[in-house]
Amino acid sequence: MFTIPRHTLGALLLTTVSVVALAVPASAIAAGNDADAIAVLQKKLDQSIKMIEALTARVQELESRQGGTVAATQTASTGPATQQQVAEVEHRVQQIEAANATRQQDTTGLPIHGFADVGIGNYNPYFANYRGANIGSLDFYLTPKLGDRVLALSELIFEVGPDGSVGTDLERFQIGYQFSDAATVWIGRFHTPYGYINTALHHGVWLADALRRPKFLNFEDHGGVMPSHTVGAWLTGAQRAGDGRVLYDLYVGNAQQDSGGTVFMQNAGTAHGTVMGGGRLSYQFTGGPLDGLTVGASAFTDKVDSAQTNNLTQLRVAGIAAVYDTDSWEHIAEAYVFHDTNLNGPPGTKRSTAWFAQLGYRGAWGVPYVRYERASLDQNDLYFAEQQFGASYYRSAAGVRFDINPKSAIKFELANTHTLDFRVSDVQYGLPEDYNEVLAQYAVRF
């Protein structure tokens, strides 16, 4: 198709106008007659005007054709290509969305989470025979996805023990199957379901508002006097009822053993096949004025032998617990009573009690708390008498937690602890009878 560039058309029009303009005066002078000259000039001017009009029309026509050609060319060159590109992009986006949509089912990796803490104080918060700075624990936990109903949880921890050295412990290792909301079965090593703290707060101290657990509820290798871990089977579940939920736990496992002054959960099994077992029943309010309140009762029986002596104690423990856990408050109370029988010792049942109450306020600036705890442990009960930290005591404590960010917190606690039945073994271990503590702790999760 014939086309004239735009700049060429413009030059042609300008040249024509210029020639006409220059020719007019020359013709008039040559005529020498004004009237004739004017007539001639008028005629030529008319012709020139017609020519200009014709050229203008032609230029417009050509410009119109050229523009149409360009538009058509652009449409012809970009339309199908663009549509194809758009289709490819849409297809790609759909693929990405589909891949992301099914990402939950992939098995490309296992995230590792955990907790860690360090501290400093005039006493070690768990072992009062040590003073100064301390490393607390490095706690890794894994919750691999093994399908819709299969659950697994492992918790591997590096922590300082009573002898001051770092040890490794598989604190929890449990594999479960979820039949329904009302029934999940776990097998392995788990936290014994009693009270509230033992299953709610665990080893990661970042989880707790307070700097540490009540002394008698510490883990076995941190001075606790109760079997906080069980190796066995655990049935647990929850069912909606009224304004809340009924929660239950039933479990059976290896009977514990007193080993070196601490309660040992016998990971490999027991020498004589002795078992322990128990249950917990709780009600959790999830609406109304009592929203956040959970109350419950628990009980277990255990037959604890001794690795050092021939002591064999039948434990019968009952407890109650209440927790008020809201955005503003955390109040916890637990109480236990022990009715123990030393099967190879003096006849009769030994009664002991242990309880604590903690009040905490969750302010925007920090979480202050106060706690009182008391354990009256019969030293004629060989179960307590053989334990390194089995003496009766009471402790008053006040503390505060500051969250530096959502993953780290620093806590401070002032406490007084008084041992009620100071024993010879306590002197041997270097434990103080009455002591005031100033403690600081830096705890993180990751």
Binding site: E97, N100, A101, H113, Q178, R245, P406
Partner: protein, 134 residues
């Protein structure tokens, strides 16, 4: 501009933003094999309800609508939501819901996943069950 004026301006902008986020509609959707009541949505996304009848629920968060969802349905902020799941995961051995990036991803996930539930910011075209509009 004086500092109080700047502060007031910033506050108004933030208030407007949060108001816009909370003002957005949220549609909770589930796979067609799920029968669920709107009142149960909170339990599902906090891991307290894992089954709808015999169907195992698999909730997924939608990052593009999460702020509005948490504020309107769960009455939580993101930090509190994360804290709850950290504690629950550590206690129960469960994992928090996976996060989808957009409404389209959330809808695709729900369609493809038996027991799948999520939420979107506009009414879904179809192929999913709308449990509730919040």
């Amino acid at each position: 501009m004086h500092r109080p004026t700047i502060a007031l301006g910033v506050a108004l902008v933030l208030a407007g933003l949060s108001g816009a986020a909370l003002g957005d509609d949220v549609y909770v959707i589930c796979n067609s094999d799920v029968t669920l009541q709107a009142a149960e949505v909170k339990d599902v996304f906090l891991g307290e309800k894992g089954f709808a009848g015999s169907v195992k629920l698999s909730p997924a968060d939608n990052g593009s609508a999460q702020t509005a969802f948490l504020g309107k349905v769960l009455k939580l902020d993101l930090a509190k939501y994360g804290s709850i799941w950290t504690k629950k995961s550590f206690r129960d051995g469960t994992n928090p819901p996976p996060i989808k990036a957009s409404d389209a991803e959330a809808v695709a996930y729900v369609k493809q996943t038996s027991g799948g539930c999520s939420y979107v910011s506009s009414a879904p075209a179809g192929g999913v069950t709308v449990v509730g509009k919040f």
